[in-house]
């Protein structure tokens, strides 16, 4: 059978789209988790910075117009962490630098006690900066104290790295699980298709009945159309068998009638040339009749080759029957039919077709063997069950032996005999339909030997 052209694979498509989706989701999960965690971590640092800034502002006081800030030890102490992040600060009074690190500045754009945060760079390091203000009210003036407090982000970076690693693990785990699940889901889905395929393949050659086993909803339309296709196939097969039988009947009956008329006329005609013409006519009719029946037999085996009605048959019995039926024909030709069998030879085959094939082979022997000779027909059991038909005729023309089984091919020795050149073709096709073989040989001492094995 020809290989079906294949475009893509459902399983691959499913796996790719499921795994692709899982990868996308895993990536999303990773990014969202990391971002969220980063935000939380940053909020943690911010809240400590904010508290430290507030505690510094708390320590500011104004005395006689003089600002005093008694920097609490705890303010910087609370910024100590395991990564030993660096701390910078600057204190401004109404935008005039008071103490701390000159150059560290960031605007506070909110009201007192409302810290503003930003990330920037100071002293060659990435820092998180908080700015907060406090308005001091003296005896006769108001002044604004602004604290700018900055801390490097080593600890945060460490935390982020840890979080990223965990988020990556989470994403990878999720992906692995999803990939596993998608493989599982895919193979279960494809499994349903496989089950269907198997039940189609496992069917007997004649089984064109509908599938009745329950299938998933999605596959129901496919199975329905498969069933309807098989229904139509079954019907058209039956129709063509009927047609062939009908055609055989229709062609042969009128030919027989015409032949009978021609024979009758021949009895009545005396003129030599008319008798000659009539004989030619009868002969042509015989040719046509033979051709029609051989054609129909050949058509039958061609149509049924793929779905033979296989059954247990005894090859010996089958051939024996046939020999018996053909004995009168042989007698007419003064030929002896010798039949020999090794007891019962059971095979699995289509009895009608096998008879057809063997009959054609015996036909040939009768046709090409000289009178007064014996045609030996034998059925053997092994190594493969076979039938051999041997005669003492002229044998097969040597250089034509390879081509004789071709359609309408007749040998040189067949000139003058009636025939269509389909006999060996039918035998060969029947053998092929049974996974068997047809072999042609010439016997030592003259004659043909044909072997049909199964």
């Amino acid at each position: 059978m020809a290989r079906l052209p294949v475009s893509g694979s459902l399983r691959n498509q499913l796996v790719v789209s499921l795994i692709g989706g899982a990868a996308l989701l895993a990536l999303l999960l990773f990014l969202v988790t990391r971002n969220f965690a980063a935000q939380v971590a940053q909020e943690g640092q911010d809240s400590i910075l904010g508290a430290a800034a507030a505690s510094i502002l708390d320590a500011a006081a104004i005395h006689d117009g003089q600002v005093e800030i008694d920097l609490p030890y705890a303010s910087f102490s609370m910024l100590a962490n395991a990564s030993d992040d660096r701390v910078f600060y600057a204190i401004y009074r109404d935008d005039t630098f008071l103490s701390g690190y000159e150059g560290l500045d960031a605007p506070a754009n909110q009201a007192d006690g409302q810290p503003t945060f930003q990330s920037t760079e100071f002293n060659g390091a990435d820092v998180r900066v908080v700015t907060d203000t406090r308005t001091l009210i003296g005896a006769d003036d108001r002044t604004q104290i602004r604290i700018v407090l900055a801390q490097t982000q080593d600890q945060l970076a460490g935390t982020l790295e840890r979080i990223s690693r965990n988020a990556a693990l989470l994403g990878a785990g999720f992906f692995a699980l999803a990939a596993l699940l998608s493989f599982w889901a895919t193979s279960t889905t494809i499994g349903q298709l496989k089950t269907l395929t198997q039940s189609v393949t496992r069917r007997g050659p004649q089984d064109l009945s509908a599938f009745r086993k329950p299938v998933p909803t999605e596959m129901a339309p496919l199975v329905t159309s498969l069933n309807s296709l098989m229904g139509r196939l079954d019907q058209s097969l039956r129709q063509s068998e009927d047609f062939i039988a009908e055609a055989a009947h229709r062609v042969r009956t009128p030919l027989a009638t015409v032949r009978a008329h021609a024979e009758a006329t021949l009895q009545r005609v005396d003129k030599a040339e008319n008798r000659q013409a009539l004989r030619a006519m009868v002969r042509a009719i015989d040719e046509s009749s033979r051709a029609a029946s051989q054609l129909l037999d050949h058509a039958m085996i061609t149509v049924r080759a793929d779905h033979l009605t296989l059954q247990d048959v005894d090859l010996a019995e089958l051939v024996g029957d046939l020999v018996q039926r053909l004995t009168p024909v042989a007698d007419m030709k003064d030929l002896d039919l010798a039949f020999q069998a090794e007891g019962a030879v059971p095979i699995l085959g289509d009895p009608v077709q096998i008879q057809n094939a063997v009959r054609n082979l015996i036909d040939n022997a009768l046709k090409y063997a000289p009178p007064e000779s014996t045609v030996e027909i034998a059925v053997w059991r092994g190594p493969r069950p076979n039938v051999t038909i041997q005669d003492r005729g002229p044998g097969f023309p040597l250089h034509e032996m390879d081509t004789l089984t071709a359609r309408f091919k007749r040998g040189r020795n067949a000139e003058g005999t009636i025939g269509s050149g389909l006999g060996l073709t039918i035998a060969h096709d029947v053998a092929a339909a049974h996974d068997g073989a047809l072999t042609l040989e010439n016997r030592e001492g003259g004659g043909a030997c044909v072997c049909l094995s199964f």
Partner: protein
Amino acid sequence: MRLPVILMLMVMPVLAYAQDWEDRRLFNPSASGTVLRILSSTDTAVFAPIIEAFVAETPETGVEYLVTSTAEIDRLFRADPGAYDVVVSSAMDLQLKLANDGYALRLNDVAHPSWAQWRQSLFAFTAEPAAIVINRAAFAGRDIPKTRQDLIRQMRDHPEIFRNKIGTYDIRKSGLGYLFATQDARASETYWRLMEVMGGLGAQLYCCSGDMIDDLASGRLVMAYNVLGSYAAARLVPGGALETILPSDFPITMMRTAFVSKDTGASGAATGFVQHLLSGEGGDGGAEAPLPPLDSASQGSTIVLEPALMTFLDTLKRRRFLTEWENAIIQK
């Protein structure tokens, strides 16, 4: 206006060249390789065994050991961080601020407990308590004070013994003195009462522990407050004239720290030196007054290496603290 500026600019290099070192010594002068310039506040006599052990291990390296006060170290180093390879100082606050300001090189290969280092760039290698040192003769027949309270009581009860005979750091000049004073003040209000009493008795102010111990030994002082006991070790032989008291109310322990300059040209040798310092080799071998090694047991009283050390370095805070201190101790 311009002339003085120009004059100053001309004189400055000369000044820098003519830097007055308290001490300056070249170890292993025949070294073929790099010569490490170590800026330190530790007396050469105390530190020499450590350096000698180091150059014995790495004969290709020489060491130029430069001694000056902690405050001077801070000033000199900030002015030219590339001129020195290693900085060793007892003023933890100034050291931490230098590291915080990015002057210290991160030494990731150095393994040191987290409480004894900061940012893997500032490393502590000694634990030295602030002590009260007394001249035993002056306390003959009386209880030896165990706490600051005891000391205050004794000074109030017997002012005649103590008048003009007590000493402490002039915290305006000494970085270590300032560190001890601020940590004292942070720990308890007792500090201020003590300063007031000492001020009332005409306390003598010193730049360095060594001088105080000299004067104690000679009898010019009967008591010195917040002295580095480790410096006096040589004279603290049992039964000797001096006795060290670690006040039991709240002891304060300083850690001597070292770091490698970020602009060093010899980071390999400098790192090797710091590693050698931390290993403790040579710290006690043969020294008259060995530097006390780190001791995790005394961690409770040890000044923590953290950014909070910068608190008292704040201009406003420092001004305020010094004013208060002057008011207490210099009574006119």
